[in-house]
C-alpha cells in the first residue's frame, strides 16, 4: 500500500509539473511594457513554488513508503517535535514569501500609484451589458459631458454612452466599439461602467481592471507590439458575460492618426 501510494503521488506530481515546464498552455506573448517584468516575476514565483511543490510531494510519497509499519520496523521515534527546526522553517518560509512579495511592489506602484505621463493617449472605456465602448476626446483633448438620461444602449455608439451633443467639448469626441491604440505610447484610460461591474481584461497586454459603476478609474499602460488583441470581460456581469468581447488594435502612430482622422471626418 505504501508503494502504491508513493507511486500515485509521484506520478500526479510529475505529470502536473510536466505541463507547467513544457508550457503547453502558457501566458500569451506579452505586448505591453509591463509584460517583461510581470512574466519574469511569474517565472521566478513559478520556479520557487515549483521547487517547494516537488520537494513536499516527493518527500510525502517517500515518507509514506519508507515508514510503512512492518514487523521488522524499529520502534518509532518518540518525539514531540523540535523547536529549532520549527524556527528554521518558519524563518525560511517568511523570507521566501515576503521577499517574493516585495519584489513585485515597484511595478505595481508604477502602474497604479503614479499617474500617466504627459502626452499619453486618452481613451475612456465604458462597460455595459454586454459591450465595450471606447471614447477619444478628439483634438480639443477634452471629453464632452455625458448624461445617464441620454443613454440608449440599443442605439449604440455615442448614444450608448449618453454623450451630450449640445456640449461643445463633445463635438469632436469619437466613440467606437473597437479600441485603436498607437504602439509605444503610453495610454491613459479612464474606466467606467454604467450598469453593473465589468472587468477590462486584455491578456496579451497584461492588463486587467474592474470597471465599477459610480467610479472613474484611471489606469495607464504602454503597448509595445503592433497587433490585434482580444478583450475578455473578467467580472461576472450577467447572462451575456461570455460574449462581452472586444478587440484592441495596436497600430503605428501614423496609422492611428489616420484612423482617428477618418473617424472625425465621418462625424462631421
Amino acid at each position: 500500500m505504501g508503494l502504491a501510494l508513493m507511486a500515485v503521488i509521484w506520478v500526479i506530481t510529475l505529470a502536473s509539473t510536466y505541463f507547467f515546464v513544457a508550457k503547453t498552455w502558457w501566458l500569451p506573448a506579452g505586448a505591453a511594457e509591463a509584460a517583461h517584468f510581470i512574466d519574469g516575476q511569474f517565472a521566478l514565483t513559478f520556479v520557487l513554488m515549483g521547487i517547494v511543490f516537488l520537494a513536499a510531494q516527493l518527500s510525502l510519497g517517500y515518507i509514506v513508503w519508507r515508514y510503512q509499519q512492518k514487523p521488522s520496523s524499529p520502534p518509532v521515534l518518540y518525539s514531540h517535535g523540535n523547536t529549532k527546526l520549527e524556527i528554521i522553517w518558519t524563518v525560511l518560509t517568511t523570507i521566501l514569501f515576503i521577499g517574493l512579495n516585495l519584489m513585485g511592489g515597484p511595478v505595481w506602484a508604477s502602474q497604479r500609484w503614479d499617474p500617466a505621463g504627459a502626452g499619453a493617449v486618452q481613451v475612456e472605456v465604458t462597460g455595459m451589458q454586454f459591450a465595450w465602448y471606447f471614447r477619444y476626446p478628439g483634438p480639443d483633448g477634452k471629453y464632452g459631458a455625458t448624461s445617464p438620461k441620454l443613454m440608449d444602449p440599443s442605439a449604440g455608439g455615442e448614444a450608448a454612452v449618453g454623450l451630450n451633443t449640445s456640449d461643445p467639448a463633445s463635438k469632436d469626441d469619437v466613440v467606437t466599439g473597437t479600441m485603436y491604440l498607437p504602439v509605444d505610447r503610453e495610454v491613459d484610460i479612464s474606466l467606467r461602467a454604467v450598469d453593473v461591474i465589468h472587468s477590462f481584461f486584455v491578456p496579451s497586454l497584461r492588463f486587467k481592471q474592474d470597471a465599477v459603476p459610480g467610479l472613474n478609474i484611471h489606469m495607464h499602460f504602454k503597448p509595445t507590439a503592433i497587433g490585434e488583441y482580444e478583450i475578455a470581460c473578467a467580472e461576472l456581469c450577467g447572462l451575456g458575460h461570455y460574449k462581452m468581447h472586444g478587440m484592441v488594435h495596436v497600430v503605428s502612430q501614423e496609422d492611428f492618426d489616420k484612423w482617428l482622422a477618418a473617424r472625425e471626418a465621418e462625424k462631421q
Binding site: I12, S16, H80, N82, E86, A109, G214, Y242
Partner: protein, 577 residues
C-alpha cells in the same frame, strides 16, 4: 467539574420525535448535520456535472434541465458555489463532526446549550430549504455568482433569476448566518466551560482546537455577512442605496444613487476570507489527529500546531482585500493586504512541515482514514502553493478571475476540506454507527478520488495562466478561449469518472451502517476520549462516569509503556509526556 455536568445533563429522550427529529443530544444533532451536508453535496455535485457537460457540449439537451441557456449556466454556478460553501464545507466539518465529537473529546456530557444546538440545526435546515426553493420560483435561481457582487445582485432587472430567486438566495444566507452564530456560541462556551478534570487547553486534541478556533471565526464573520445581506435585501426591496450608485440598466435609470459597489465586496470578503478557514481548519485538525494515530507517533510540534491555527485565525481577518486587487480599491492598500496574505502562508507551511515530521520514522498503518489524511496533506500543499501567485498584486493582474483562481480554491478549500471530511467519516464512522466501513472499497474510493480530483483541478491552472476567464457559459465567442477547449474536455471526462466513484462511498456508507462488521470501542487503538467510551456512546457520553484526563492527546510509542499508545485517561503513573 461535577457542577456543569449536573446542570447540563438532560434525561435520555423517549419517543421517536424527541429522539431523532427534535433531539437535544449533540450526537444526534451531529448526525443530522452530517446527513444534511451529504444531501447538499450531492445537489452541489450534480450542478457541477451539468456545468461541466454544458461547457463541453453547449447545445446538448441534458437530463432534467434540457438545453442549458447562458443564464441557466450562471444559476448553476451560483447555486453550486453557495450550496457547497455554506451547506457542505461549513456544515459537515463543524456542525457535523464538531457537534458529535467536541463534547466527547473534552469529556463533557453534551453541548453547553442543548436547546440552542437543536435550534441551530433546524435553522440551518430552513436555510437549506429556502435556497433550494430558489430553483423553483419564477425566473429561477440567481445568476450573480456565490459572491453576489452588487449592483448585479441588487438590481432585479439586471438579469433573469435576479427577482424572487435572488431574494431567496440572500434570505437563505441570512438564516444560515443566524444558525451559525448560535452554533459558534455553543462551541466556544462548551470548550471553555465543560472540559473534564485534567483536560487543560494544551491537552485538547487538535480537532478540538480546530473546532474552537473555527467557532471564534464564525462568531466574528457571520455577523458581518448577516448585516451585509440585510442591507442588500433593503437595496433590493426598500429602495435604499447602500451598494448601488446611479446606474442605467438597459437604458433605464434605476432609482438609486450614491451607493458603493465596493462596500458589498469589503463586507462580503470580510466574511468570505475567514470562511475559507472555517472550511479548512477542521480538516487540519482531523488530519493531525489521524496522521498521529496511524503513524503511531506523537504529533510533531503540538504547540506549534496550536499557535499556527491561532495565527491563521488571526491573520484570516486581515487579508480580505486580496480578493479585491482589481476592484478599484485603493492601490496602496493592496500592498498591505498582499504582505499580510503572504504572512498567512507561513503558519500553513509550518503545519505541512509538522505533518511530514509526524509521519517521519513512524509506523504508518494504511487504513482508509489515513489514506485520506495523507491525501489531505498532498492537496493542501498543491492548493496552497498557488496562493503566493495570487497574493502578489502584479501577478493577480493576469490571474484574477481566471480558472487559476478556480483551481486554487477548489484544491485547497474544496477538495482538501472534502478529503478532511472523508478522513473524518472513515475514522469516526465506527464510533458513530457501531460498525466498520468496508476497507477495500474505501481504498478503491480513495485512489480514484485522489487521482480524479487532481485531474479535474490541476488543469484549471494551465487554463488560467493562458487567460481562461471563469464564469463563462460558453467558450465560443472569444478566439483564444476556443483554443483551450481540449483542457475543458479532459476536465469534464475526469469529473464524470470522479463523480461516479462517489457512489462507491455512499453505498459503502449505507451498507456498512447496517451490514458492516461490529466495531470495538477502540478499533484504531487511538488515545482521545471518544475511544474510552462504548461504541456507540451512551446518551450522556460516558455512562454516568466523569472522565479524568492524565495525559496529552497523542501519546503513541511511549518508551516503557505497556502498549504502543497511552490513552488520555490512563492512570497518571503510566509513563508518558
Amino acid at each position: 467539574m461535577a457542577t456543569p455536568v449536573a446542570i447540563h445533563a438532560h434525561a435520555a429522550p423517549q419517543g421517536f420525535i424527541r429522539k431523532y427529529i427534535f433531539s437535544l443530544d449533540h450526537k444526534v444533532i451531529g448526525i443530522q448535520y452530517f446527513f444534511l451536508a451529504l444531501t447538499a453535496v450531492w445537489v452541489g455535485m450534480f450542478l457541477s456535472l451539468l456545468m461541466r457537460l454544458h461547457l463541453v457540449w453547449p447545445n446538448a439537451a441534458l437530463p432534467l434541465v434540457g438545453e442549458i441557456k447562458p443564464e441557466t449556466y450562471l444559476s448553476l454556478l451560483t447555486m453550486h458555489g453557495t450550496i457547497m460553501v455554506f451547506f457542505v464545507l461549513t456544515t459537515a466539518p463543524q456542525g457535523g463532526f464538531g457537534n458529535y465529537f467536541l463534547p466527547i473529546q473534552i469529556g463533557a456530557p453534551d453541548m453547553a446549550f442543548p436547546v440552542l444546538n437543536m435550534l441551530s440545526f433546524w435553522t440551518t435546515f430552513v436555510a437549506f430549504v429556502t435556497i433550494i426553493a430558489a430553483f423553483f420560483v419564477t425566473g429561477g435561481a440567481p445568476l450573480h455568482g456565490w459572491t453576489g457582487y452588487a449592483p448585479l445582485s441588487a438590481l432585479p432587472s439586471a438579469g433573469p433569476g435576479e427577482q424572487l430567486g435572488a431574494d431567496l438566495w440572500i434570505t437563505s444566507i441570512a438564516i444560515f448566518c443566524v444558525a451559525s452564530l448560535m452554533g459558534a456560541l455553543n462551541f466556544i462556551t462548551t470548550t471553555l466551560d465543560l472540559r473534564a478534570k485534567g483536560m487543560t487547553l494544551m491537552r485538547m486534541p487538535l480537532t478540538v482546537w480546530s473546532w474552537f478556533i473555527t467557532a471564534i471565526l464564525g462568531l466574528l464573520a457571520f455577523g458581518v455577512l448577516l448585516s451585509a445581506g440585510i442591507l442588500l435585501l433593503m437595496d433590493r426591496n426598500l429602495g435604499t442605496s447602500f451598494y448601488v450608485p446611479l446606474v442605467v440598466v438597459n437604458g433605464q435609470i434605476m432609482g438609486h444613487k450614491g451607493g458603493s459597489p465596493l462596500l458589498w465586496q469589503h463586507l462580503f470578503w470580510f466574511f468570505g476570507h475567514p470562511e475559507v478557514y472555517i472550511a479548512i481548519l477542521p480538516g487540519m485538525g482531523v488530519a493531525s489527529q489521524i496522521l498521529s494515530t496511524f503513524s503511531r507517533k506523537p504529533i510533531f510540534g503540538y504547540k506549534a500546531m496550536v499557535y499556527a491555527m491561532l495565527a491563521i485565525g488571526f491573520f484570516g481577518f486581515m487579508v480580505w482585500g486580496h480578493h479585491m486587487f482589481m476592484s478599484g480599491m485603493s492601490p496602496y492598500s493592496a500592498f498591505a493586504f498582499s504582505i499580510l496574505t503572504m504572512c498567512i502562508g507561513v503558519p500553513s507551511a509550518i503545519k505541512t512541515f509538522n505533518w511530514l515530521g509526524t509521519m517521519w520514522k513512524g509506523h504508518i498503518r494504511f487504513q482508509t482514514p489515513m489514506l485520506y489524511a495523507i491525501g489531505f496533506v498532498s492537496l493542501f500543499v498543491s492548493g496552497g502553493l498557488s496562493g503566493p501567485f495570487l497574493a502578489q498584486p502584479v501577478l493577480d493582474i493576469q490571474l484574477h478571475d481566471t480558472y487559476f483562481v478556480v483551481g486554487h480554491f477548489h484544491l485547497i478549500m474544496g477538495v482538501a476540506a472534502i478529503f478532511g471530511m472523508f478522513a473524518a467519516t472513515y475514522y469516526w464512522f465506527p464510533k458513530m454507527f457501531g460498525r466498520m466501513m468496508n476497507e477495500t472499497w474505501g481504498r478503491v474510493h480513495f485512489f480514484i478520488t485522489l487521482a480524479g480530483t487532481y485531474a479535474i483541478f490541476m488543469p484549471m491552472h494551465y487554463l488560467g495562466i493562458a487567460g481562461g476567464t471563469r464564469r463563462y457559459s460558453q467558450y465560443t465567442e472569444v478566439a483564444y478561449l476556443q483554443k483551450l477547449m481540449p483542457i475543458h474536455q479532459f476536465m469534464t471526462y475526469a469529473a464524470i469518472i470522479t463523480m461516479a466513484a462517489q457512489f462507491i462511498f455512499v453505498i459503502n456508507l449505507f451498507w456498512s451502517m447496517f451490514k458492516g462488521p461490529k466495531a470495538s470501542d477502540n478499533p484504531w487503538e487511538a488515545t482521545t476520549l471518544e475511544w474510552t467510551t462504548t461504541t456507540p456512546p451512551p446518551h450522556d457520553n460516558f455512562g454516568g462516569r466523569t472522565p479524568v484526563v492524565n495525559h496529552g492527546p497523542y501519546e503513541y510509542g511511549v518508551p516503557g509503556a505497556p502498549r504502543d499508545y497511552v490513552m488520555q485517561t490512563d492512570p497518571a503513573t503510566t509513563p508518558a509526556h
